[in-house]
Amino acid sequence: MLVGLVVAAAPIRADSANSATLVDRIVDHIDRLYRSEDSHSHLEMIISNPNWERRLKMEMWTRGLKETLIRIHAPRKDVGITTLRKGPEMWNFFPRIDKVMKVPPSMMMSSWMGSDFSNDDLVKESTFTDDYTATLESADDSLLTLTLIAGEHTATLWPRISLTVRAIDLMPVTEIYYDEKDRAARRIEFEDVTEFSGRTLPATMAMTSLNKPGHRTIIRYVEAEFDTGISDRLFSLRELQRR
Protein backbone atom coordinates (compact mmCIF):
# COMPACT_ATOMS: atom_id res chain seq x y z
CA MET A 1 0.00 0.00 0.00
CA LEU A 2 3.01 2.15 0.47
CA VAL A 3 4.01 1.39 -3.00
CA GLY A 4 3.10 3.24 -5.92
CA LEU A 5 0.92 5.09 -8.02
CA VAL A 6 -2.25 6.40 -9.28
CA VAL A 7 -3.81 5.30 -12.39
CA ALA A 8 -6.14 8.14 -13.08
CA ALA A 9 -9.60 6.71 -12.80
CA ALA A 10 -12.45 8.57 -14.28
CA PRO A 11 -14.85 9.68 -11.58
CA ILE A 12 -17.57 7.15 -11.17
CA ARG A 13 -20.98 8.18 -10.12
CA ALA A 14 -22.41 6.09 -7.34
CA ASP A 15 -25.73 5.61 -9.02
CA SER A 16 -24.29 4.48 -12.29
CA ALA A 17 -24.28 0.73 -12.59
CA ASN A 18 -25.76 -2.02 -10.47
CA SER A 19 -24.17 -2.64 -7.09
CA ALA A 20 -21.98 -5.64 -8.05
CA THR A 21 -20.25 -3.85 -10.89
CA LEU A 22 -19.86 -0.76 -8.78
CA VAL A 23 -18.14 -2.72 -6.02
CA ASP A 24 -15.77 -4.30 -8.53
CA ARG A 25 -14.96 -0.93 -9.99
CA ILE A 26 -14.25 0.60 -6.60
CA VAL A 27 -11.95 -2.26 -5.56
CA ASP A 28 -10.14 -2.16 -8.85
CA HIS A 29 -9.76 1.58 -8.56
CA ILE A 30 -8.28 1.32 -5.05
CA ASP A 31 -5.94 -1.46 -6.16
CA ARG A 32 -4.59 0.70 -8.95
CA LEU A 33 -4.57 3.96 -7.07
CA TYR A 34 -1.09 3.63 -5.61
CA ARG A 35 0.33 1.37 -8.29
CA SER A 36 1.67 1.93 -11.76
CA GLU A 37 4.13 0.59 -14.29
CA ASP A 38 6.79 2.44 -12.39
CA SER A 39 7.09 5.38 -10.04
CA HIS A 40 9.63 7.63 -8.46
CA SER A 41 8.68 9.64 -5.40
CA HIS A 42 9.93 11.59 -2.42
CA LEU A 43 8.22 10.81 0.87
CA GLU A 44 8.16 11.93 4.44
CA MET A 45 7.40 9.53 7.22
CA ILE A 46 6.51 10.67 10.71
CA ILE A 47 6.49 7.91 13.29
CA SER A 48 5.20 8.75 16.73
CA ASN A 49 4.53 6.68 19.83
CA PRO A 50 4.56 7.26 23.58
CA ASN A 51 8.34 6.84 23.72
CA TRP A 52 9.62 8.83 20.75
CA GLU A 53 8.88 10.63 17.52
CA ARG A 54 10.95 10.32 14.39
CA ARG A 55 10.82 11.96 10.99
CA LEU A 56 12.26 10.26 7.98
CA LYS A 57 12.76 11.65 4.50
CA MET A 58 13.09 9.07 1.81
CA GLU A 59 13.11 8.44 -1.89
CA MET A 60 11.24 5.53 -3.39
CA TRP A 61 11.30 3.77 -6.73
CA THR A 62 8.82 1.09 -7.69
CA ARG A 63 8.29 -1.06 -10.73
CA GLY A 64 5.17 -3.17 -11.11
CA LEU A 65 4.01 -5.04 -8.04
CA LYS A 66 7.27 -6.78 -7.32
CA GLU A 67 10.10 -4.31 -7.15
CA THR A 68 10.70 -1.49 -4.69
CA LEU A 69 13.78 0.43 -3.59
CA ILE A 70 13.63 2.89 -0.69
CA ARG A 71 16.57 5.05 0.30
CA ILE A 72 16.56 7.18 3.47
CA HIS A 73 17.86 10.76 3.15
CA ALA A 74 17.18 12.05 6.68
CA PRO A 75 17.76 12.08 9.65
CA ARG A 76 21.50 12.25 9.30
CA LYS A 77 22.34 9.13 11.26
CA ASP A 78 20.13 7.04 8.99
CA VAL A 79 21.24 8.57 5.69
CA GLY A 80 21.81 5.97 3.02
CA ILE A 81 19.98 3.12 4.74
CA THR A 82 18.32 1.39 1.81
CA THR A 83 15.66 -1.27 1.51
CA LEU A 84 15.30 -3.42 -1.58
CA ARG A 85 12.32 -5.60 -2.17
CA LYS A 86 12.31 -8.01 -5.06
CA GLY A 87 9.37 -10.38 -5.19
CA PRO A 88 9.00 -12.07 -1.81
CA GLU A 89 12.54 -11.21 -0.74
CA MET A 90 13.81 -8.18 1.07
CA TRP A 91 17.18 -6.74 2.04
CA ASN A 92 18.36 -3.78 4.09
CA PHE A 93 21.68 -2.07 3.47
CA PHE A 94 23.48 -0.15 6.21
CA PRO A 95 26.15 2.06 4.64
CA ARG A 96 27.89 2.94 7.92
CA ILE A 97 28.80 -0.67 8.61
CA ASP A 98 28.75 -1.61 4.92
CA LYS A 99 26.42 -4.55 5.51
CA VAL A 100 23.54 -5.97 3.55
CA MET A 101 21.13 -7.92 5.71
CA LYS A 102 18.43 -10.09 4.26
CA VAL A 103 15.18 -9.76 6.16
CA PRO A 104 14.38 -13.33 7.26
CA PRO A 105 10.81 -14.63 6.83
CA SER A 106 10.39 -14.59 10.62
CA MET A 107 10.95 -10.82 10.62
CA MET A 108 8.38 -10.03 7.95
CA MET A 109 5.77 -9.04 10.51
CA SER A 110 8.22 -6.79 12.35
CA SER A 111 8.15 -3.08 11.96
CA TRP A 112 9.90 -1.38 9.04
CA MET A 113 12.36 1.20 10.48
CA GLY A 114 10.31 1.49 13.66
CA SER A 115 7.12 2.49 11.86
CA ASP A 116 3.66 0.98 12.20
CA PHE A 117 4.12 -0.51 8.75
CA SER A 118 5.54 -4.01 8.75
CA ASN A 119 8.17 -5.32 6.39
CA ASP A 120 5.39 -7.43 5.02
CA ASP A 121 3.34 -4.35 4.15
CA LEU A 122 6.17 -3.30 1.84
CA VAL A 123 6.60 -6.68 0.25
CA LYS A 124 2.96 -7.51 -0.14
CA GLU A 125 1.97 -8.44 -3.63
CA SER A 126 -1.69 -9.13 -2.96
CA THR A 127 -4.50 -7.09 -4.41
CA PHE A 128 -7.99 -6.58 -3.07
CA THR A 129 -9.42 -7.82 -6.36
CA ASP A 130 -7.57 -11.15 -6.34
CA ASP A 131 -7.53 -11.97 -2.65
CA TYR A 132 -10.71 -10.48 -1.18
CA THR A 133 -14.42 -10.65 -1.83
CA ALA A 134 -16.03 -7.25 -1.56
CA THR A 135 -19.60 -6.33 -0.67
CA LEU A 136 -21.17 -2.91 -0.39
CA GLU A 137 -21.89 -2.25 3.27
CA SER A 138 -23.50 1.18 3.13
CA ALA A 139 -23.80 4.09 0.76
CA ASP A 140 -24.95 7.67 1.03
CA ASP A 141 -24.42 10.78 -1.03
CA SER A 142 -20.87 11.34 0.09
CA LEU A 143 -19.39 8.03 1.31
CA LEU A 144 -19.44 4.39 0.26
CA THR A 145 -18.35 1.66 2.68
CA LEU A 146 -17.23 -1.77 1.49
CA THR A 147 -16.46 -4.90 3.46
CA LEU A 148 -13.64 -7.03 2.11
CA ILE A 149 -13.43 -10.65 3.25
CA ALA A 150 -10.25 -12.60 2.59
CA GLY A 151 -10.59 -15.65 0.38
CA GLU A 152 -10.13 -19.07 1.97
CA HIS A 153 -6.70 -19.54 0.45
CA THR A 154 -5.39 -16.08 1.13
CA ALA A 155 -2.54 -15.99 3.64
CA THR A 156 -3.06 -12.72 5.44
CA LEU A 157 -3.10 -11.16 8.87
CA TRP A 158 -6.30 -9.34 8.00
CA PRO A 159 -9.30 -11.58 7.28
CA ARG A 160 -11.60 -8.57 7.12
CA ILE A 161 -11.02 -5.02 5.91
CA SER A 162 -13.53 -2.22 5.98
CA LEU A 163 -12.97 0.33 3.20
CA THR A 164 -14.61 3.73 2.90
CA VAL A 165 -14.31 5.84 -0.27
CA ARG A 166 -15.68 9.20 -1.40
CA ALA A 167 -18.70 8.76 -3.61
CA ILE A 168 -17.72 11.62 -5.87
CA ASP A 169 -14.31 10.40 -7.06
CA LEU A 170 -13.82 7.05 -5.26
CA MET A 171 -10.79 8.43 -3.40
CA PRO A 172 -10.16 6.29 -0.30
CA VAL A 173 -11.03 7.88 3.05
CA THR A 174 -10.34 5.14 5.58
CA GLU A 175 -9.31 1.51 5.68
CA ILE A 176 -9.88 -0.44 8.88
CA TYR A 177 -8.03 -3.75 9.25
CA TYR A 178 -9.51 -6.48 11.45
CA ASP A 179 -7.38 -9.26 12.92
CA GLU A 180 -8.19 -12.99 13.06
CA LYS A 181 -10.33 -12.40 16.16
CA ASP A 182 -12.23 -9.71 14.25
CA ARG A 183 -10.89 -6.90 16.41
CA ALA A 184 -10.10 -3.63 14.68
CA ALA A 185 -6.28 -3.61 14.74
CA ARG A 186 -5.30 -0.64 12.60
CA ARG A 187 -6.84 2.21 10.71
CA ILE A 188 -5.44 4.11 7.74
CA GLU A 189 -6.82 7.54 6.98
CA PHE A 190 -6.26 9.09 3.56
CA GLU A 191 -6.08 12.86 3.27
CA ASP A 192 -4.80 15.73 1.15
CA VAL A 193 -5.97 14.62 -2.27
CA THR A 194 -3.30 16.15 -4.49
CA GLU A 195 -2.31 16.07 -8.12
CA PHE A 196 1.18 14.76 -8.89
CA SER A 197 2.31 15.03 -12.52
CA GLY A 198 -1.20 14.58 -13.74
CA ARG A 199 -2.23 11.86 -11.28
CA THR A 200 -4.55 12.54 -8.40
CA LEU A 201 -4.21 10.64 -5.12
CA PRO A 202 -4.37 11.26 -1.37
CA ALA A 203 -0.89 12.54 -0.52
CA THR A 204 -1.16 11.66 3.16
CA MET A 205 -1.72 8.26 4.70
CA ALA A 206 -2.00 8.15 8.47
CA MET A 207 -1.79 4.71 10.02
CA THR A 208 -3.04 4.44 13.59
CA SER A 209 -2.43 1.29 15.55
CA LEU A 210 -5.65 0.44 17.39
CA ASN A 211 -4.12 -2.21 19.64
CA LYS A 212 -1.06 -0.16 20.60
CA PRO A 213 -2.32 3.14 22.01
CA GLY A 214 -0.42 6.19 20.83
CA HIS A 215 1.34 4.48 17.93
CA ARG A 216 0.89 6.34 14.68
CA THR A 217 2.75 6.61 11.38
CA ILE A 218 2.07 9.28 8.78
CA ILE A 219 3.35 8.98 5.22
CA ARG A 220 3.25 12.04 3.02
CA TYR A 221 4.06 12.17 -0.70
CA VAL A 222 6.11 15.28 -1.38
CA GLU A 223 6.86 14.67 -5.03
CA ALA A 224 5.94 11.87 -7.36
CA GLU A 225 6.28 11.05 -11.05
CA PHE A 226 4.98 8.06 -12.90
CA ASP A 227 5.76 5.81 -15.83
CA THR A 228 9.08 7.41 -16.62
CA GLY A 229 10.69 4.10 -17.51
CA ILE A 230 12.97 3.16 -14.63
CA SER A 231 15.85 0.86 -15.50
CA ASP A 232 15.55 -2.60 -13.96
CA ARG A 233 19.21 -2.31 -12.94
CA LEU A 234 17.97 -0.11 -10.11
CA PHE A 235 16.35 -3.06 -8.36
CA SER A 236 19.52 -5.02 -7.74
CA LEU A 237 21.79 -5.85 -4.80
CA ARG A 238 24.50 -3.78 -6.48
CA GLU A 239 22.31 -0.70 -6.59
CA LEU A 240 21.25 -1.41 -2.99
CA GLN A 241 24.85 -0.91 -1.91
CA ARG A 242 25.43 2.26 -3.92
CA ARG A 243 26.29 5.06 -1.52
Binding site: I47, N49, N51, W52, R54, K77, D78, I81, N92, F94, R96, I97, D98, K99, M101, S111, M113, G114, S115
Partner: protein
Protein backbone atom coordinates in the same frame (compact mmCIF):
# COMPACT_ATOMS: atom_id res chain seq x y z
CA UNK B 1 34.54 -18.47 101.06
CA UNK B 2 33.43 -21.41 98.87
CA UNK B 3 34.36 -19.45 95.76
CA UNK B 4 37.78 -18.69 97.17
CA UNK B 5 38.44 -22.36 97.91
CA UNK B 6 37.24 -23.28 94.44
CA UNK B 7 39.45 -20.62 92.90
CA UNK B 8 42.46 -21.79 94.91
CA UNK B 9 41.72 -25.42 93.90
CA UNK B 10 42.24 -24.49 90.28
CA UNK B 11 45.89 -23.73 90.99
CA UNK B 12 46.48 -26.54 93.43
CA UNK B 13 47.07 -29.18 90.79
CA UNK B 14 48.68 -26.98 88.16
CA UNK B 15 49.44 -29.69 85.65
CA UNK B 16 45.92 -31.12 85.70
CA UNK B 17 44.37 -27.68 85.38
CA UNK B 18 46.75 -26.86 82.58
CA UNK B 19 45.73 -29.92 80.56
CA UNK B 20 42.03 -29.26 81.07
CA UNK B 21 42.57 -25.65 80.18
CA UNK B 22 44.56 -26.57 77.07
CA UNK B 23 41.69 -28.73 75.90
CA UNK B 24 39.32 -25.82 76.37
CA UNK B 25 41.61 -23.37 74.61
CA UNK B 26 42.14 -25.81 71.78
CA UNK B 27 38.43 -26.53 71.43
CA UNK B 28 37.54 -22.89 71.55
CA UNK B 29 40.10 -21.95 68.95
CA UNK B 30 39.12 -24.81 66.67
CA UNK B 31 35.43 -23.92 66.60
CA UNK B 32 36.21 -20.22 66.45
CA UNK B 33 38.39 -20.78 63.40
CA UNK B 34 35.77 -22.91 61.66
CA UNK B 35 33.11 -20.28 62.23
CA UNK B 36 35.50 -17.52 61.19
CA UNK B 37 36.51 -19.30 58.01
CA UNK B 38 32.91 -20.14 57.18
CA UNK B 39 31.74 -16.57 57.69
CA UNK B 40 34.86 -15.24 56.07
CA UNK B 41 34.57 -17.27 52.92
CA UNK B 42 30.97 -16.21 52.43
CA UNK B 43 31.79 -12.59 53.12
CA UNK B 44 34.64 -12.89 50.63
CA UNK B 45 32.38 -14.66 48.18
CA UNK B 46 29.72 -11.98 48.44
CA UNK B 47 32.35 -9.30 48.10
CA UNK B 48 33.91 -10.91 45.04
CA UNK B 49 30.50 -11.53 43.53
CA UNK B 50 29.04 -8.08 44.12
CA UNK B 51 32.23 -6.37 43.07
CA UNK B 52 32.27 -8.39 39.88
CA UNK B 53 29.28 -6.73 38.27
CA UNK B 54 26.23 -6.44 40.51
CA UNK B 55 27.32 -3.94 43.13
CA UNK B 56 25.76 -3.91 46.58
CA UNK B 57 22.55 -2.33 45.44
CA UNK B 58 21.01 -1.26 42.17
CA UNK B 59 18.57 1.41 41.10
CA UNK B 60 16.23 0.89 38.14
CA UNK B 61 12.96 2.19 36.89
CA UNK B 62 10.16 0.26 38.58
CA UNK B 63 9.57 -3.04 36.77
CA UNK B 64 12.83 -2.96 34.78
CA UNK B 65 14.30 -5.96 36.56
CA UNK B 66 11.25 -8.07 35.73
CA UNK B 67 10.93 -6.82 32.18
CA UNK B 68 13.90 -4.88 30.83
CA UNK B 69 12.90 -2.33 28.22
CA UNK B 70 15.09 0.04 26.26
CA UNK B 71 12.73 2.87 27.16
CA UNK B 72 12.63 2.20 30.91
CA UNK B 73 15.45 4.61 31.62
CA UNK B 74 16.26 6.83 34.57
CA UNK B 75 18.27 10.02 34.66
CA UNK B 76 21.28 10.23 36.90
CA UNK B 77 20.44 13.81 37.83
CA UNK B 78 21.84 15.83 40.69
CA UNK B 79 19.04 14.90 43.07
CA UNK B 80 19.49 11.18 42.53
CA UNK B 81 23.26 11.40 42.77
CA UNK B 82 22.92 13.30 46.04
CA UNK B 83 20.54 10.65 47.41
CA UNK B 84 23.16 8.01 46.64
CA UNK B 85 26.29 9.82 47.73
CA UNK B 86 24.81 10.99 51.03
CA UNK B 87 24.33 7.39 52.14
CA UNK B 88 26.64 6.56 55.04
CA UNK B 89 29.11 3.88 54.03
CA UNK B 90 28.79 4.87 50.37
CA UNK B 91 31.84 3.94 48.29
CA UNK B 92 31.11 4.36 44.57
CA UNK B 93 28.41 4.25 41.92
CA UNK B 94 28.35 3.50 38.22
CA UNK B 95 25.67 4.04 35.55
CA UNK B 96 24.98 1.50 32.82
CA UNK B 97 22.85 1.01 29.73
CA UNK B 98 21.83 -2.39 28.42
CA UNK B 99 20.53 -3.63 25.08
CA UNK B 100 20.61 -6.76 23.00
CA UNK B 101 22.66 -6.60 19.84
CA UNK B 102 24.16 -8.50 16.99
CA UNK B 103 27.89 -8.37 16.28
CA UNK B 104 29.52 -9.05 12.92
CA UNK B 105 33.16 -9.66 12.25
CA UNK B 106 34.18 -10.99 8.87
CA UNK B 107 31.86 -13.89 8.21
CA UNK B 108 31.15 -14.54 11.90
CA UNK B 109 28.06 -13.34 13.72
CA UNK B 110 27.17 -13.43 17.41
CA UNK B 111 24.20 -12.18 19.36
CA UNK B 112 25.17 -10.80 22.73
CA UNK B 113 24.31 -8.37 25.46
CA UNK B 114 25.55 -4.85 25.04
CA UNK B 115 26.57 -3.03 28.22
CA UNK B 116 27.45 0.64 28.16
CA UNK B 117 29.82 1.44 31.03
CA UNK B 118 31.24 4.69 32.35
CA UNK B 119 35.01 4.64 31.62
CA UNK B 120 35.78 6.39 34.92
CA UNK B 121 33.07 5.26 37.33
CA UNK B 122 32.93 1.58 36.38
CA UNK B 123 36.55 0.72 37.40
CA UNK B 124 35.92 2.43 40.76
CA UNK B 125 32.83 0.32 41.31
CA UNK B 126 33.53 -3.13 39.93
CA UNK B 127 36.53 -5.19 38.92
CA UNK B 128 35.77 -5.03 35.19
CA UNK B 129 39.03 -3.23 34.49
CA UNK B 130 41.08 -5.80 36.41
CA UNK B 131 39.46 -8.58 34.45
CA UNK B 132 40.87 -7.29 31.17
CA UNK B 133 43.18 -10.06 30.03
CA UNK B 134 44.25 -8.55 26.72
CA UNK B 135 44.42 -4.98 25.51
CA UNK B 136 43.22 -2.13 27.69
CA UNK B 137 40.18 -0.58 29.34
CA UNK B 138 38.38 2.50 27.96
CA UNK B 139 39.97 5.91 28.31
CA UNK B 140 37.87 8.70 29.80
CA UNK B 141 36.93 10.21 26.42
CA UNK B 142 36.83 6.99 24.46
CA UNK B 143 35.04 6.99 21.09
CA UNK B 144 33.69 3.98 19.21
CA UNK B 145 35.67 1.31 21.03
CA UNK B 146 34.50 -2.04 22.25
CA UNK B 147 35.60 -4.62 24.81
CA UNK B 148 34.49 -8.23 24.40
CA UNK B 149 34.31 -11.12 26.80
CA UNK B 150 36.68 -13.93 25.85
CA UNK B 151 33.73 -16.20 25.02
CA UNK B 152 32.50 -13.72 22.46
CA UNK B 153 35.99 -13.09 21.11
CA UNK B 154 36.32 -16.83 20.54
CA UNK B 155 33.00 -17.06 18.71
CA UNK B 156 33.88 -14.12 16.48
CA UNK B 157 37.53 -15.10 16.14
CA UNK B 158 38.34 -11.55 17.16
CA UNK B 159 41.62 -9.87 18.04
CA UNK B 160 42.56 -6.50 19.44
CA UNK B 161 42.28 -3.86 16.73
CA UNK B 162 39.60 -5.64 14.68
CA UNK B 163 36.55 -3.65 13.65
CA UNK B 164 33.21 -5.04 14.75
CA UNK B 165 29.92 -4.08 13.12
CA UNK B 166 27.08 -3.86 15.62
CA UNK B 167 23.39 -3.87 14.86
CA UNK B 168 20.71 -3.28 17.43
CA UNK B 169 17.41 -1.58 18.10
CA UNK B 170 17.59 2.17 18.57
CA UNK B 171 15.47 3.86 21.22
CA UNK B 172 13.94 6.07 18.50
CA UNK B 173 12.81 3.07 16.47
CA UNK B 174 15.77 3.28 14.12
CA UNK B 175 18.05 0.37 13.43
CA UNK B 176 21.19 1.12 15.41
CA UNK B 177 24.27 0.28 13.39
CA UNK B 178 27.87 1.30 13.72
CA UNK B 179 31.47 0.16 13.68
CA UNK B 180 33.54 -0.30 16.84
CA UNK B 181 37.17 -1.26 17.14
CA UNK B 182 38.21 -3.80 19.74
CA UNK B 183 40.49 -2.40 22.43
CA UNK B 184 40.23 -5.11 25.08
CA UNK B 185 39.17 -8.62 25.95
CA UNK B 186 37.73 -9.52 29.34
CA UNK B 187 38.47 -12.80 31.11
CA UNK B 188 40.69 -15.66 30.04
CA UNK B 189 39.05 -18.54 28.25
CA UNK B 190 38.55 -21.78 30.15
CA UNK B 191 39.06 -20.20 33.55
CA UNK B 192 36.01 -18.33 34.68
CA UNK B 193 32.51 -18.45 33.33
CA UNK B 194 32.10 -15.14 31.57
CA UNK B 195 28.98 -14.54 29.54
CA UNK B 196 28.64 -13.23 26.04
CA UNK B 197 28.82 -9.56 26.67
CA UNK B 198 30.30 -6.64 24.88
CA UNK B 199 31.11 -3.42 26.63
CA UNK B 200 30.94 0.02 25.06
CA UNK B 201 31.88 3.37 26.57
CA UNK B 202 28.66 4.82 28.03
CA UNK B 203 28.45 7.79 25.66
CA UNK B 204 29.17 5.68 22.60
CA UNK B 205 26.50 3.20 23.72
CA UNK B 206 23.98 6.00 24.16
CA UNK B 207 24.82 7.41 20.74
CA UNK B 208 24.53 3.96 19.21
CA UNK B 209 21.14 3.32 20.82
CA UNK B 210 19.89 6.89 20.23
CA UNK B 211 19.29 7.29 23.96
CA UNK B 212 19.07 10.85 25.30
CA UNK B 213 22.01 12.17 27.31
CA UNK B 214 22.13 11.21 31.00
CA UNK B 215 19.62 8.42 30.44
CA UNK B 216 20.70 5.06 31.86
CA UNK B 217 19.02 1.74 32.68
CA UNK B 218 20.83 0.94 35.87
CA UNK B 219 22.87 2.51 38.60
CA UNK B 220 25.00 0.11 40.60
CA UNK B 221 26.13 1.30 44.02
CA UNK B 222 28.85 -0.21 46.18
CA UNK B 223 29.17 0.40 49.89
CA UNK B 224 32.11 -0.06 52.17
CA UNK B 225 30.47 -3.14 53.69
CA UNK B 226 28.09 -5.41 51.78
CA UNK B 227 26.23 -6.19 55.01
CA UNK B 228 24.77 -2.68 54.99
CA UNK B 229 23.13 -3.26 51.61
CA UNK B 230 19.56 -3.86 52.84
CA UNK B 231 19.49 -0.89 55.16
CA UNK B 232 21.21 1.39 52.62
CA UNK B 233 18.71 0.38 49.91
CA UNK B 234 15.83 1.38 52.19
CA UNK B 235 17.42 4.66 53.16
CA UNK B 236 18.29 5.65 49.59
CA UNK B 237 14.79 4.72 48.45
CA UNK B 238 13.38 6.97 51.16
CA UNK B 239 15.56 9.89 50.10
CA UNK B 240 14.59 9.46 46.43
CA UNK B 241 10.91 9.33 47.34
CA UNK B 242 8.14 7.56 45.47
CA UNK B 243 7.67 10.30 42.87
CA UNK B 244 10.29 9.10 40.40
CA UNK B 245 8.92 5.57 40.27
CA UNK B 246 12.35 4.10 40.90
CA UNK B 247 13.24 0.86 42.60
CA UNK B 248 16.25 0.44 44.86
CA UNK B 249 17.13 -3.24 45.32
CA UNK B 250 19.91 -4.75 47.45
CA UNK B 251 22.17 -7.25 45.73
CA UNK B 252 20.47 -10.28 47.23
CA UNK B 253 17.24 -9.26 45.50
CA UNK B 254 18.97 -8.51 42.22
CA UNK B 255 20.87 -11.80 42.32
CA UNK B 256 18.16 -13.79 44.03
CA UNK B 257 19.19 -17.11 42.44
CA UNK B 258 22.78 -16.74 43.53
CA UNK B 259 21.75 -15.64 47.01
CA UNK B 260 19.45 -18.60 47.47
CA UNK B 261 22.07 -21.08 46.26
CA UNK B 262 24.56 -19.51 48.65
CA UNK B 263 22.11 -19.75 51.55
CA UNK B 264 21.53 -23.44 50.92
CA UNK B 265 25.27 -23.92 50.76
CA UNK B 266 25.71 -22.00 53.96
CA UNK B 267 23.17 -24.18 55.75
CA UNK B 268 25.19 -27.20 54.69
CA UNK B 269 28.23 -25.50 56.21
CA UNK B 270 26.38 -25.20 59.51
CA UNK B 271 26.03 -28.98 59.70
CA UNK B 272 29.78 -29.44 59.51
CA UNK B 273 30.26 -26.61 62.01
CA UNK B 274 27.87 -28.36 64.37
CA UNK B 275 29.94 -31.55 64.11
CA UNK B 276 33.13 -29.66 64.98
CA UNK B 277 31.37 -28.05 67.93
CA UNK B 278 30.15 -31.45 69.19
CA UNK B 279 33.67 -32.88 68.94
CA UNK B 280 34.98 -29.92 70.95
CA UNK B 281 32.25 -30.38 73.56
CA UNK B 282 33.05 -34.10 73.90
CA UNK B 283 36.76 -33.33 74.31
CA UNK B 284 36.10 -30.78 77.03
CA UNK B 285 33.60 -33.11 78.68
CA UNK B 286 36.13 -35.92 78.78
CA UNK B 287 38.85 -33.82 80.38
CA UNK B 288 36.58 -32.27 82.98
CA UNK B 289 35.07 -35.63 83.83
CA UNK B 290 38.52 -37.17 84.32
CA UNK B 291 39.75 -34.35 86.52
CA UNK B 292 36.74 -34.63 88.81
CA UNK B 293 36.74 -38.41 89.02
CA UNK B 294 40.46 -38.37 89.76
CA UNK B 295 39.74 -36.51 92.96
CA UNK B 296 37.09 -38.85 94.41
CA UNK B 297 39.38 -39.61 97.40
CA UNK B 298 39.90 -35.96 98.11
CA UNK B 299 36.16 -35.31 98.06
CA UNK B 300 35.61 -38.29 100.36
CA UNK B 301 37.96 -36.69 102.89
CA UNK B 302 36.12 -33.38 102.62
CA UNK B 303 32.83 -35.16 103.24
CA UNK B 304 34.25 -37.03 106.20
CA UNK B 305 35.34 -33.71 107.66
CA UNK B 306 31.73 -32.62 107.56
CA UNK B 307 31.49 -30.59 104.41
CA UNK B 308 27.80 -30.48 103.47
CA UNK B 309 26.98 -32.21 100.12
CA UNK B 310 25.60 -28.95 98.70
CA UNK B 311 28.83 -27.08 99.39
CA UNK B 312 30.85 -29.85 97.77
CA UNK B 313 28.60 -29.76 94.70
CA UNK B 314 28.89 -26.00 94.41
CA UNK B 315 32.64 -26.14 94.86
CA UNK B 316 33.14 -28.58 91.99
CA UNK B 317 30.88 -26.63 89.62
CA UNK B 318 32.52 -23.35 90.60
CA UNK B 319 35.96 -24.81 90.07
CA UNK B 320 35.12 -25.86 86.53
CA UNK B 321 33.54 -22.47 85.85
CA UNK B 322 36.64 -20.62 87.05
CA UNK B 323 38.91 -22.83 85.04
CA UNK B 324 36.80 -22.30 81.93
CA UNK B 325 36.66 -18.55 82.36
CA UNK B 326 40.42 -18.43 82.89
CA UNK B 327 40.97 -20.55 79.78
CA UNK B 328 38.81 -18.19 77.75
CA UNK B 329 41.35 -15.40 78.15
CA UNK B 330 44.13 -17.03 76.13
CA UNK B 331 41.52 -18.76 73.94
CA UNK B 332 39.92 -15.50 72.87
CA UNK B 333 43.28 -13.84 72.28
CA UNK B 334 44.56 -16.76 70.26
CA UNK B 335 41.36 -16.97 68.19
CA UNK B 336 41.31 -13.28 67.43
CA UNK B 337 44.96 -13.36 66.37
CA UNK B 338 44.57 -16.46 64.20
CA UNK B 339 41.32 -15.33 62.62
CA UNK B 340 42.70 -11.90 61.94
CA UNK B 341 45.86 -13.34 60.42
CA UNK B 342 43.79 -15.63 58.19
CA UNK B 343 41.51 -12.78 57.21
CA UNK B 344 44.57 -10.92 55.91
CA UNK B 345 46.67 -13.75 54.48
CA UNK B 346 44.06 -16.32 53.60
CA UNK B 347 44.73 -19.96 52.94
CA UNK B 348 45.61 -20.58 49.34
CA UNK B 349 43.67 -23.32 47.59
CA UNK B 350 45.77 -25.45 45.24
CA UNK B 351 42.85 -25.83 42.83
CA UNK B 352 40.91 -22.58 42.65
CA UNK B 353 37.16 -22.94 43.02
CA UNK B 354 34.71 -21.37 40.61
CA UNK B 355 31.60 -20.17 42.38
CA UNK B 356 28.93 -18.20 40.54
CA UNK B 357 31.37 -17.27 37.82
CA UNK B 358 33.93 -15.88 40.24
CA UNK B 359 37.24 -17.64 40.76
CA UNK B 360 38.48 -18.18 44.32
CA UNK B 361 42.13 -18.88 44.94
CA UNK B 362 42.19 -18.15 48.69
CA UNK B 363 40.00 -18.90 51.67
CA UNK B 364 39.71 -16.02 54.08
CA UNK B 365 38.61 -15.91 57.69
CA UNK B 366 36.78 -13.13 59.45
CA UNK B 367 36.69 -11.66 62.94
CA UNK B 368 33.16 -10.98 64.08
CA UNK B 369 31.15 -11.30 67.28
CA UNK B 370 29.91 -14.76 66.42
CA UNK B 371 33.45 -16.05 66.12
CA UNK B 372 33.87 -15.42 69.87
CA UNK B 373 30.56 -15.78 71.64
CA UNK B 374 29.51 -19.00 69.99
CA UNK B 375 32.62 -21.08 70.84
CA UNK B 376 32.69 -19.41 74.28
CA UNK B 377 29.14 -20.50 74.96
CA UNK B 378 29.83 -24.00 73.70
CA UNK B 379 32.94 -24.50 75.84
CA UNK B 380 31.32 -23.00 78.93
CA UNK B 381 28.14 -25.05 78.58
CA UNK B 382 30.03 -28.22 77.78
CA UNK B 383 32.43 -27.96 80.70
CA UNK B 384 30.04 -26.66 83.34
CA UNK B 385 27.27 -28.94 82.13
CA UNK B 386 29.56 -31.92 82.25
CA UNK B 387 30.80 -31.13 85.75
CA UNK B 388 27.25 -31.26 87.10
CA UNK B 389 26.96 -35.01 87.00
CA UNK B 390 30.27 -35.89 88.76
CA UNK B 391 29.63 -33.07 91.24
CA UNK B 392 26.23 -34.46 92.07
CA UNK B 393 27.65 -37.99 92.39
CA UNK B 394 30.50 -36.84 94.59
CA UNK B 395 28.22 -34.86 96.84
CA UNK B 396 26.15 -37.96 97.52
CA UNK B 397 29.05 -40.36 97.95
CA UNK B 398 29.64 -42.19 101.21
CA UNK B 399 32.90 -40.78 102.60
CA UNK B 400 34.31 -44.22 103.48
CA UNK B 401 33.77 -45.55 99.96
CA UNK B 402 35.22 -42.42 98.46
CA UNK B 403 38.36 -42.53 100.53
CA UNK B 404 38.89 -46.16 99.56
CA UNK B 405 38.61 -45.34 95.87
CA UNK B 406 41.68 -44.89 93.70
Amino acid sequence: MLARIAFRNVFRQRRRSLFTSLMMVGGFTLSSLSIGISDGSYAHLIDMFTRDQTGHLQIHRQGYRQQPSLHATLTADERLVRAIEHQSGFAAWAPRVYAPGLAFLGRKTAGARLVGVDPVREPATTRLKQKISEGRFFAADEGNSIILTCTLAEVLDADIGDEIALIGQGADGSIANDLFSIVGIVGASGRTRVGRTYYLPLDAARRFLSLPRAHVHEIAVVLEDHRDADAAADEIAQRIGAADNLEVAPWRMVEWEFYRAMKVDQEGMWVSLLIIVIIVAIGVLNTVLMSVLERTREFGVLRAMGTPPRALFSMIVLETTFLTLLSLIPAVSLSVILNFWLSQQGISIPNPINYGGVLFSHIYSEVNARVLWLPGLVVLLASVGVSLFPAWRTARIAPADAMRAH
